[in-house]
């Protein structure tokens, strides 16, 4: 995967999209085989490589009792990033809710917060698992925008989705998985043509 | 310093601290202070010994034992070789109880200097010896008398 490329993973439920992303995020240890990053084993060097990988999965990695602002500030401090949290909240349209506890927010709002959290980190590899889920059309546009922006700054993207038509708008490559096996690999537009 | 070395260093430090604490437990003054029972000398020297329920341990002084089996009453002196405390117990000690043996008694020291106890336990030494002469016969008869 070259820098700045974006790979879209599609496939039916249980085909291994999420598992693959979790392995790449070092959230799961691969049972067999290895993932190589610049020629070195990802799992063996996970402590250093984690700083360069950002992952937005089904779990949003937020604290329910804190507000979006407090959440982002906490992650900001933990990672020693110096990001303007308020500007970020404005970017994902959470400004009006910034001081309410996350617990009271809708699923779509929480997704936006997850996206903002992803943007705190300046990763070399961003992993997005079903990023369009629970989002309205405006939110989906936002995700696509974020992907394009990350790509221009040289970040490689891997994205798992069952909405390939939306994903293809920002992706370069496409992969189709089924039952843990790679069925097809090529360009994102090529993948779209092959879909029924 | 690489990650692996930092990890090893932390592991080493953690094990040293834990090991040090265990060593302290074994070497420190804890053993002398947090005891299951007190010696007669310690009981004499304790500033407020009168209030508390404590355990007293020592040897039964030969010739001081006075055992009224029917009324479950026994008096004897306990010594550690230095100080001696008189014990008055209102329960029957176990069959092994005899003069010269180690005992632990639980109770309170009264104002008259007599230790009043409701529980007498015998402390056996770590020696296991074959009997000499008729000792064993005595022992068997004392068991029989008890049960």
């Amino acid at each position: 995967m070259e820098a700045g490329s974006a790979w879209m993973l599609t496939g039916p439920n249980g085909s291994g999209k999420s598992t693959m992303l979790r392995c790449m995020a070092t959230s799961l240890k691969p049972h067999r085989g290895h993932i190589l990053v610049d020629g070195t084993d990802l799992w063996e060097n996970r402590q250093t490589l984690r700083a360069e990988i950002a992952y937005l999965g089904h779990e949003l990695h937020v604290w329910d009792d804190l507000s979006p602002r407090q959440n982002l500030q906490a992650w900001n401090r933990l990672g020693r990033f110096e990001v303007d949290v308020d500007a970020l909240l404005e970017r994902v349209n959470l400004e009006p809710h910034r001081d309410h506890p996350v617990r009271a927010m809708s699923a779509g709002m929480k997704r936006r917060l997850g996206l903002a959290r992803l943007l705190l980190k300046k990763p070399r590899l961003a992993l997005l698992d079903e990023p369009f889920g629970a989002l309205d059309p405006e939110g989906r546009e936002l995700v696509l925008d974020v992907i394009r922006e990350l790509r221009t700054s040289g970040t490689t993207i891997a994205l798992a989705t069952h909405l390939p038509r939306i994903g293809a708008q920002a992706c370069t490559h496409g992969l189709a998985l089924e039952a843990g096996q790679l069925l097809w690999a090529g360009t994102a537009s090529g993948l779209l043509e092959r879909l029924p | 310093m690489t990650e692996a070395w930092k990890r090893r260093l932390f592991a080493l430090a953690a094990l040293t601290v834990a090991g040090g604490a265990l060593t302290y437990l074994s070497m420190g003054d804890l053993g002398e202070n947090l005891v299951y029972y007190w010696s007669p000398t310690e009981l004499h020297d304790a500033p407020n010994a009168l209030q508390a329920t404590v355990r007293l341990g020592g040897l039964v002084v030969p010739g001081t034992m006075n055992w009224d089996r029917d009324n479950s009453h026994v008096t004897f002196d306990v010594t550690d070789g230095n100080k001696t405390v008189s014990v008055d117990s209102s329960s029957n000690p176990p069959a092994m109880f005899r003069e010269g043996i180690g005992v632990v008694v639980e109770g309170k020291l009264g104002g008259d200097g007599v230790f009043r106890s409701e529980r007498v336990m015998v402390k056996h030494s770590n020696e296991y010896q074959a009997p000499e002469g008729d000792h064993q016969e005595n022992w068997k008869s004392s068991i029989a008398g008890e049960e």
Binding site: A25, L78, P101 | L15, Q51, A52
Partner: protein, 225 residues
């Protein structure tokens, strides 16, 4: 150093969560208070209450602490924030010490609130040294928090967590419970055998063992969990 800074940030985050939802600390307080009252109702005489005060206090705190450790990790697991910290990456050691320090602070707050109530309800005299009492309270709470934070993470992911955590924790903290209860009694009743400092050193040794070993293993548990 990075790890120390991260520990501080985790601690700060924990305390912020407590501040935003104070229901947890107040819940613990009322839990411990209810324990004290129940023991009082179940006791035949008030004299027994007085001689058992130290033990009752620490049993209440122990039971409250198992609730506390449970909740401490359930908020963390709700949206996978614990894994999020691991991947961020935050050093596992920092996550452990941050959370364990926060749990110590919470227990200590409960202790501070509950102790005067116990003195009043049980009609306990306080004859001994208050600084000794403070030291025993700090060390006792730390001794409950160290293994509790580690086992809380384990049982939060296992079946039947609410039963399992006490079963794992109780036998492990027996020396600490013993030392804290006896040490508290020494402060309450006066110290006939001058044992106070020895109980305190036993607590310190217990803390040294468990704070270091739990910190050592925590990363492994979090990573494999």
């Amino acid at each position: 150093m990075n790890v120390i800074r991260q520990t501080f940030e985790v601690l700060r985050k924990e305390l912020l969560v407590e501040w935003r939802s104070p229901a947890r600390v107040s819940g613990l307080f009322f839990f411990a208070l209810a324990m004290l009252l129940m023991v009082a109702f179940a006791s035949p005489t008030e004299g027994i209450l007085r001689t058992q005060a130290g033990g009752t206090l620490w049993i209440s705190l122990l039971l409250a602490s198992t609730r506390s450790m449970d909740q401490s990790w359930s908020t963390e697991m709700e949206h996978g924030a614990a894994e999020g910290m691991l991947l961020w990456p935050v050093e596992p050691v920092a996550i452990y010490y941050g959370k364990a320090l926060a749990n110590t602070a919470i227990l200590l707050a409960v202790t501070v609130a509950i102790f005067p109530l116990m003195v009043g309800l049980y009609d306990v005299p306080v004859r001994g040294d208050l600084s000794m009492l403070a030291a025993i309270a700090v060390m006792g709470c730390a001794a409950l928090a160290a293994p509790g934070t580690l086992y809380g993470l384990i049982t939060a992911q296992a079946r039947g967590a609410s039963v399992l955590l006490p079963l794992l924790m109780f036998p492990l903290v027996v020396p600490a419970l013993l030392a804290a209860s006896r040490g508290t009694m020494v402060v309450i009743e006066g110290d006939p055998m001058l044992q106070g400092s020895s109980w305190l050193s036993l607590l310190v040794a217990f803390n040294a063992i468990h704070w270091s070993l739990s910190g050592l293993f925590f990363g492994r548990v979090l990573e494999d969990g």
